[in-house]
């Protein structure tokens, strides 16, 4: 072959070639021996072609993301290209333009329709409300709006009670 295939992950000459048909679409991955080993291709029980396909579909990365870092964890699109995993939950907000095009080919739909962690979400919304009320309280005291302050304090106590925490 005049132009041997390069490994999708590290650009060494590829010796392992995989083809999988998912939803009538043909996906191909070419790997060098080392990457094939490292990714567990030779160990099928731990091997997911989907992960590899995912990385292969990442070239080229969207231009508008170069230089962007996740504020929470410092992750960059380049890190994703290397690891195929994200850094933290906030990365999904930071790199929306990188993720959205992938989801279409990767999943059945692009919007979650399954279980929702109701209790955890309820806790979070209470927590958010509490933080906001505490800010309001400080502002009200600063501005000497004592009626507002009293109302905030009452509401804070209410929220804390629904948390099951004793109010101070």
């Amino acid at each position: 072959m005049p132009n041997p295939l390069k490994c999708d992950l590290c650009s060494k000459p590829a010796t392992v070639h995989l083809t999988q048909i998912v939803n009538n679409k043909v996906h191909k991955v070419d790997l060098c021996e080392e990457c094939a080993q490292a990714k567990g291709v030779t160990d099928p029980s731990g091997f997911s072609l989907a992960d590899l396909l995912l990385k292969a579909s990442l070239n080229p990365e969207p231009a508008n993301l170069s230089g962007v870092r996740c504020e929470q964890c410092g992750f960059t699109p380049n890190d994703f290209k290397k690891h195929g995993r994200f850094g933290c939950p906030a990365c999904y907000d930071t790199f929306t333009s990188l993720i959205e095009p992938m989801l279409d080919s990767m999943h059945k739909g692009t919007v979650h329709t399954g279980k929702v962690p109701q209790k955890a979400l309820a806790r979070k919304s209470l927590q958010d409300r509490l933080s906001k009320l505490e800010l309001d309280l400080t502002d009200a005291i600063k501005a000497e709006r004592y009626e507002d302050a009293a109302r905030c304090r009452d509401e804070i106590n209410e929220v804390k009670q629904s948390f099951g925490q004793p109010s101070r």
Partner: protein, 363 residues
């Protein structure tokens, strides 16, 4: 609880073989969950991983399902112990090679296991013998809801549960069934089945890779995608795919019996002979022979009561379990001798095959 006591305790997987598990040996569901505002395990610094581990461990041991459970970190386990847990499907290969700050919590009955700091902060798993997708889902859904009382999950209304790898977004759920499909393998139909199943958005994995002759004719079939469908929809879809695979397997058996019964019975009879008399057996050959005997039970060549023995040996013939039983570490060559010895002993008192069932045309 220790790993040694766990190995010696009967479990759902090793001790509940019955006709209900004839084709689908076991059902497994796992959920990927992560903590809000926390870097994923692969990106977290070592100290952070330690914190996450401690936090999750405490939250998990407070749930009733995981009371008096076994909780171990990877650092505390020997290579052999890790291998045994992998062979029992209680931890993944990835976890067994994970860095410090990873571990697993395993329920007393070994039905639940939760890996901490594998690819995601939590990989919650439930394991049930036989074809029990709905029961498994109810069980893991309950456990997940209890854990949610204590931990704040990373969740987005649009993308669902947020996972380190976008292939698990949404439900974070992978439901799978371990199926014994000897007739489809003998009839060379597995490739066709794999292709059809792939088109339906499901994945087939065998011990030697997709589409190949899996050792012991055991295959794992699971959903490929996790986003855009609810858990119930995924389970329903997987369930109907599994049901149709079961039908195909049973049809293939019928056809083999009708077309050339001697050929099929010869395979079963020879497997019995080898298991009783061989002196060198690789793990893969042992699996294939046990598979034929298991098929023999389904065809009533051997009594139903002995199915559990075969299912137990499927696990105990694996390298990790074998070495544990022999109390030492052995080279693969030595293991093949030990394995043959072990199986000779097990099968010395196994009932003789009864091949008469075909004479009157019934089974």
């Amino acid at each position: 609880m220790t790993i040694a006591s766990l190995i010696d305790t009967p479990s759902e997987l090793t001790d509940s073989g019955s006709s209900k598990t004839a084709v689908v040996l076991m059902t497994r569901i796992r959920l990927a969950r992560n903590l809000a505002g926390t870097p994923f395990p692969g990106w977290a610094k070592p100290a952070k991983r330690g914190e996450i581990f401690a936090l999750c461990r405490e939250a998990l041991s407070a749930t009733s399902a995981l009371k008096r459970s076994l909780c171990v970190s990877v650092e505390e386990m020997t290579e052999l112990e890790k291998q045994i847990l992998v062979e029992r499907h209680l931890i993944s290969r990835e976890l067994s090679g994970a860095k410090a700050g990873s571990g697993v919590v395993i329920s007393k009955d070994q039905c639940f296991s939760v890996m901490i700091n594998e690819e995601d902060h939590l990989r919650i798993q439930v394991l049930r013998s036989g074809f029990q997708l709905k029961k498994a889902w109810n069980a893991i859904n309950d456990l997940d809801t209890t854990i949610e009382d204590r931990l704040d999950y990373a969740f987005s209304p649009k993308l669902g549960y947020l996972t380190a790898c976008p292939t698990n977004l949404g439900t974070g759920m992978r439901a799978s069934a371990m199926m014994h499909l000897p007739a489809l393998v003998i009839a060379n139909q597995m490739e066709k089945v794999v292709r059809a199943v792939n088109q339906l958005g499901m994945v087939v994995r065998g011990l030697f890779g997709e589409g190949s002759d899996a050792s012991g004719s055991i295959f794992q079939i699971s959903n490929q995608t996790t986003l855009g469908e609810s858990e119930d929809e995924i389970i329903k879809r997987l369930g109907s795919v599994l049901t149709s695979i079961v039908e195909h397997e049973l049809n293939a058996r019928q056809k083999l019996l009708e077309a050339d019964p001697a050929k099929l019975l010869d395979k079963i009879g020879r497997a019995y002979g080898i298991l009783r008399n061989s002196h060198v057996l690789s793990s893969s050959e042992a699996m294939n022979l046990l598979s034929l005997l298991r098929l023999g039970v389904d065809l009533k060549v051997f009594p139903e009561a002995d199915r559990a023995t075969i299912d137990r040996l499927f696990i105990e013939a694996q390298p990790g379990h074998l070495q544990h039983a022999q109390k030492g570490e052995f080279e693969p060559g030595q293991r093949d001798l030990l394995r043959a010895g072990r199986l000779r002993a097990e099968f010395a008192n196994f009932p003789q095959p009864n091949f008469t069932f075909t004479a009157d045309g019934s089974n």
